[in-house]
Protein backbone atom coordinates (compact mmCIF):
# COMPACT_ATOMS: atom_id res chain seq x y z
CA UNK A 1 0.00 0.00 0.00
CA UNK A 2 1.23 3.49 -0.89
CA UNK A 3 2.31 5.89 1.83
CA UNK A 4 2.81 9.59 2.08
CA UNK A 5 6.53 10.37 2.41
CA UNK A 6 7.72 12.34 5.42
CA UNK A 7 10.82 14.46 4.85
CA UNK A 8 13.11 15.77 7.56
CA UNK A 9 14.59 19.24 7.14
CA UNK A 10 16.60 20.33 10.16
CA UNK A 11 14.35 19.97 13.14
CA UNK A 12 11.21 20.02 11.00
CA UNK A 13 9.22 17.29 9.34
CA UNK A 14 7.68 18.09 5.97
CA UNK A 15 4.74 16.23 4.53
CA UNK A 16 3.46 17.08 1.08
CA UNK A 17 0.16 15.44 0.26
CA UNK A 18 0.07 14.90 -3.48
CA UNK A 19 -2.53 12.17 -3.80
CA UNK A 20 -6.25 11.96 -3.31
CA UNK A 21 -6.47 11.04 0.37
CA UNK A 22 -8.35 7.91 1.19
CA UNK A 23 -9.22 7.18 4.77
CA UNK A 24 -6.63 4.47 5.39
CA UNK A 25 -3.89 6.70 4.05
CA UNK A 26 -4.93 9.47 6.43
CA UNK A 27 -4.84 7.15 9.41
CA UNK A 28 -1.43 5.72 8.51
CA UNK A 29 -0.03 9.23 7.98
CA UNK A 30 -1.19 10.16 11.46
CA UNK A 31 0.56 7.10 12.93
CA UNK A 32 3.77 7.54 10.94
CA UNK A 33 4.04 11.21 11.76
CA UNK A 34 3.77 10.76 15.51
CA UNK A 35 6.37 7.98 15.38
CA UNK A 36 8.74 10.18 13.38
CA UNK A 37 8.27 13.17 15.68
CA UNK A 38 9.41 11.07 18.60
CA UNK A 39 12.25 9.39 16.63
CA UNK A 40 13.68 12.60 15.24
CA UNK A 41 12.76 14.89 18.12
CA UNK A 42 11.29 17.26 15.57
CA UNK A 43 10.09 20.61 16.83
CA UNK A 44 7.95 21.50 13.85
CA UNK A 45 5.66 19.71 11.42
CA UNK A 46 4.60 21.22 8.14
CA UNK A 47 1.82 19.72 6.07
CA UNK A 48 1.57 21.02 2.51
CA UNK A 49 -1.94 20.49 1.15
CA UNK A 50 -1.69 22.76 -1.89
CA UNK A 51 -2.35 19.79 -4.17
CA UNK A 52 -5.46 18.67 -2.29
CA UNK A 53 -8.65 19.38 -4.22
CA UNK A 54 -10.93 18.69 -1.30
CA UNK A 55 -10.71 18.46 2.44
CA UNK A 56 -13.72 16.79 3.96
CA UNK A 57 -14.44 16.37 7.66
CA UNK A 58 -12.38 13.19 7.78
CA UNK A 59 -9.22 14.84 6.47
CA UNK A 60 -10.04 17.95 8.52
CA UNK A 61 -10.17 15.78 11.61
CA UNK A 62 -6.86 14.20 10.67
CA UNK A 63 -5.23 17.64 10.41
CA UNK A 64 -6.69 18.59 13.76
CA UNK A 65 -5.47 15.36 15.34
CA UNK A 66 -1.97 15.76 13.97
CA UNK A 67 -1.84 19.29 15.40
CA UNK A 68 -3.05 18.14 18.82
CA UNK A 69 -0.81 15.10 18.98
CA UNK A 70 2.30 16.98 17.92
CA UNK A 71 1.52 19.62 20.53
CA UNK A 72 1.57 16.89 23.16
CA UNK A 73 4.90 15.76 21.72
CA UNK A 74 6.24 19.33 21.92
CA UNK A 75 6.16 20.13 18.21
CA UNK A 76 4.22 22.83 16.39
CA UNK A 77 2.16 22.02 13.31
CA UNK A 78 1.56 24.36 10.41
CA UNK A 79 -0.73 23.51 7.49
CA UNK A 80 0.24 25.33 4.30
CA UNK A 81 -1.17 25.99 0.85
CA UNK A 82 -4.88 25.40 1.26
CA UNK A 83 -6.69 26.32 -1.96
CA UNK A 84 -9.37 29.05 -1.79
CA UNK A 85 -12.17 26.74 -2.98
CA UNK A 86 -11.17 24.19 -0.35
CA UNK A 87 -11.08 26.85 2.38
CA UNK A 88 -14.52 28.22 1.42
CA UNK A 89 -15.96 24.71 1.41
CA UNK A 90 -14.41 23.79 4.76
CA UNK A 91 -15.85 26.92 6.38
CA UNK A 92 -19.27 26.18 4.89
CA UNK A 93 -19.00 22.65 6.20
CA UNK A 94 -18.48 24.14 9.65
CA UNK A 95 -14.84 23.20 10.07
CA UNK A 96 -12.62 26.18 10.88
CA UNK A 97 -9.82 24.10 12.47
CA UNK A 98 -9.14 26.56 15.28
CA UNK A 99 -6.33 24.45 16.70
CA UNK A 100 -4.38 24.36 13.45
CA UNK A 101 -1.83 27.00 12.46
CA UNK A 102 -1.78 27.94 8.78
CA UNK A 103 0.49 29.68 6.28
CA UNK A 104 0.23 30.56 2.61
CA UNK A 105 3.16 28.52 1.35
CA UNK A 106 6.11 26.38 2.40
CA UNK A 107 8.47 29.36 2.83
CA UNK A 108 6.12 31.21 5.10
CA UNK A 109 5.25 27.98 6.86
CA UNK A 110 8.90 27.42 7.75
CA UNK A 111 9.22 31.04 8.94
CA UNK A 112 6.13 30.64 11.11
CA UNK A 113 7.45 27.41 12.64
CA UNK A 114 10.77 29.13 13.43
CA UNK A 115 8.93 32.00 15.05
CA UNK A 116 6.72 29.73 17.10
CA UNK A 117 9.68 27.66 18.31
CA UNK A 118 11.66 30.83 19.16
CA UNK A 119 8.68 32.32 21.00
CA UNK A 120 8.48 29.20 23.10
CA UNK A 121 12.21 29.27 23.81
CA UNK A 122 11.98 32.93 24.73
CA UNK A 123 9.11 32.60 27.16
Amino acid sequence: MDQIPIMKIGDCLLVSIQVDMHDQLAISLQDNLTTRIVQTRARGVMIDISALEIVDSFIGRMLNNIASMSRVLDAVTVVVGMQPAVAITLVELGLTLPGVRTALDVDRGLALIRRLIDDEAGS
Binding site: D56, F58, A85, T89, L93
Partner: protein, 134 residues
Protein backbone atom coordinates in the same frame (compact mmCIF):
# COMPACT_ATOMS: atom_id res chain seq x y z
CA UNK B 1 -37.27 17.50 -13.34
CA UNK B 2 -35.62 15.85 -16.36
CA UNK B 3 -32.73 13.46 -15.98
CA UNK B 4 -30.18 13.91 -18.76
CA UNK B 5 -27.60 11.38 -17.70
CA UNK B 6 -27.36 8.88 -14.91
CA UNK B 7 -25.02 6.34 -13.34
CA UNK B 8 -24.96 4.09 -10.31
CA UNK B 9 -21.90 3.67 -8.11
CA UNK B 10 -21.30 1.29 -5.24
CA UNK B 11 -20.52 2.55 -1.74
CA UNK B 12 -18.93 -0.56 -0.25
CA UNK B 13 -15.40 0.41 0.72
CA UNK B 14 -13.13 3.36 1.49
CA UNK B 15 -11.79 3.11 -2.08
CA UNK B 16 -15.34 3.64 -3.33
CA UNK B 17 -15.41 7.00 -1.58
CA UNK B 18 -12.34 8.10 -3.54
CA UNK B 19 -13.92 6.80 -6.75
CA UNK B 20 -17.15 8.68 -5.99
CA UNK B 21 -15.23 11.91 -5.41
CA UNK B 22 -13.51 11.55 -8.78
CA UNK B 23 -16.73 10.71 -10.59
CA UNK B 24 -18.71 13.56 -9.01
CA UNK B 25 -15.85 15.94 -9.83
CA UNK B 26 -15.81 14.96 -13.48
CA UNK B 27 -19.60 15.30 -13.74
CA UNK B 28 -19.46 18.71 -12.07
CA UNK B 29 -16.74 19.83 -14.49
CA UNK B 30 -18.83 18.54 -17.38
CA UNK B 31 -21.82 20.50 -16.05
CA UNK B 32 -19.60 23.61 -16.04
CA UNK B 33 -19.79 24.16 -12.29
CA UNK B 34 -17.46 26.84 -10.93
CA UNK B 35 -14.42 25.57 -9.03
CA UNK B 36 -16.01 26.46 -5.68
CA UNK B 37 -19.27 24.72 -6.61
CA UNK B 38 -17.36 21.65 -7.79
CA UNK B 39 -15.49 21.53 -4.51
CA UNK B 40 -18.69 21.91 -2.50
CA UNK B 41 -20.59 19.10 -4.20
CA UNK B 42 -17.56 16.77 -4.19
CA UNK B 43 -17.03 17.42 -0.47
CA UNK B 44 -20.72 16.84 0.29
CA UNK B 45 -20.58 13.60 -1.70
CA UNK B 46 -17.52 12.50 0.26
CA UNK B 47 -19.26 13.23 3.57
CA UNK B 48 -22.47 11.40 2.75
CA UNK B 49 -20.66 8.49 1.12
CA UNK B 50 -18.73 8.00 4.35
CA UNK B 51 -21.94 8.10 6.35
CA UNK B 52 -23.50 5.52 4.04
CA UNK B 53 -20.46 3.31 4.52
CA UNK B 54 -19.90 3.78 8.26
CA UNK B 55 -23.45 3.97 9.58
CA UNK B 56 -25.49 2.37 6.80
CA UNK B 57 -23.14 -0.58 6.30
CA UNK B 58 -22.65 0.37 2.64
CA UNK B 59 -25.09 1.05 -0.15
CA UNK B 60 -25.12 2.84 -3.44
CA UNK B 61 -25.08 6.22 -5.10
CA UNK B 62 -27.34 7.20 -7.98
CA UNK B 63 -25.61 10.08 -9.74
CA UNK B 64 -27.78 12.13 -12.09
CA UNK B 65 -27.42 15.18 -14.28
CA UNK B 66 -30.75 16.94 -13.96
CA UNK B 67 -32.50 19.85 -15.53
CA UNK B 68 -35.47 21.88 -14.34
CA UNK B 69 -36.55 24.57 -16.76
CA UNK B 70 -33.41 26.55 -17.47
CA UNK B 71 -31.60 25.28 -14.37
CA UNK B 72 -29.12 22.46 -14.63
CA UNK B 73 -27.54 20.62 -11.78
CA UNK B 74 -26.40 17.38 -10.23
CA UNK B 75 -28.54 15.15 -8.07
CA UNK B 76 -26.89 12.58 -5.81
CA UNK B 77 -29.01 9.97 -4.13
CA UNK B 78 -27.28 7.81 -1.53
CA UNK B 79 -29.22 4.85 -0.22
CA UNK B 80 -28.48 2.09 2.23
CA UNK B 81 -30.32 -0.74 3.99
CA UNK B 82 -28.72 0.01 7.33
CA UNK B 83 -30.20 0.55 10.77
CA UNK B 84 -31.66 3.94 9.86
CA UNK B 85 -31.63 7.18 11.82
CA UNK B 86 -34.06 7.24 14.75
CA UNK B 87 -34.04 11.01 15.32
CA UNK B 88 -33.54 12.87 12.04
CA UNK B 89 -33.88 16.29 13.61
CA UNK B 90 -31.08 15.55 16.02
CA UNK B 91 -28.92 13.97 13.33
CA UNK B 92 -29.08 17.24 11.41
CA UNK B 93 -27.81 19.29 14.32
CA UNK B 94 -24.26 20.59 14.18
CA UNK B 95 -22.02 18.67 16.49
CA UNK B 96 -24.28 15.68 16.94
CA UNK B 97 -22.69 12.36 16.18
CA UNK B 98 -23.45 8.77 16.90
CA UNK B 99 -19.98 7.74 15.83
CA UNK B 100 -16.51 9.09 16.31
CA UNK B 101 -16.78 11.95 13.81
CA UNK B 102 -17.05 15.63 14.42
CA UNK B 103 -20.78 15.42 13.83
CA UNK B 104 -20.67 17.71 10.84
CA UNK B 105 -21.37 15.17 8.12
CA UNK B 106 -25.10 15.65 7.63
CA UNK B 107 -25.61 19.23 8.76
CA UNK B 108 -22.43 20.40 7.02
CA UNK B 109 -23.27 18.67 3.75
CA UNK B 110 -26.70 20.26 3.85
CA UNK B 111 -25.04 23.67 3.77
CA UNK B 112 -22.96 22.64 0.77
CA UNK B 113 -26.01 21.88 -1.40
CA UNK B 114 -28.99 23.80 -2.66
CA UNK B 115 -31.44 21.05 -1.79
CA UNK B 116 -31.08 18.31 0.77
CA UNK B 117 -33.55 15.54 1.63
CA UNK B 118 -33.15 12.89 4.26
CA UNK B 119 -35.47 9.92 4.58
CA UNK B 120 -34.90 7.21 7.09
CA UNK B 121 -36.82 4.35 8.64
CA UNK B 122 -35.32 2.53 11.60
CA UNK B 123 -34.50 -1.01 10.54
CA UNK B 124 -35.19 -0.33 6.88
CA UNK B 125 -32.54 2.10 5.73
CA UNK B 126 -31.66 5.67 4.88
CA UNK B 127 -31.82 7.70 1.68
CA UNK B 128 -30.05 11.03 1.38
CA UNK B 129 -30.64 13.19 -1.68
CA UNK B 130 -28.43 16.16 -2.54
CA UNK B 131 -28.96 18.65 -5.34
CA UNK B 132 -26.54 21.35 -6.36
CA UNK B 133 -27.68 23.74 -9.12
CA UNK B 134 -25.22 25.34 -11.44
Amino acid sequence: MDVEKQATLAVKSAEDIVRIRREVRSWAVESKFSLVDQTKIVTAASEIARNTLDYGGGGQLALEKVRQGERRGLRLTFSDQGPGIPDIQRALTDGYTSGSGLGLGLSGSKRLCNEFYLESKPGVGTTVTLIRWK
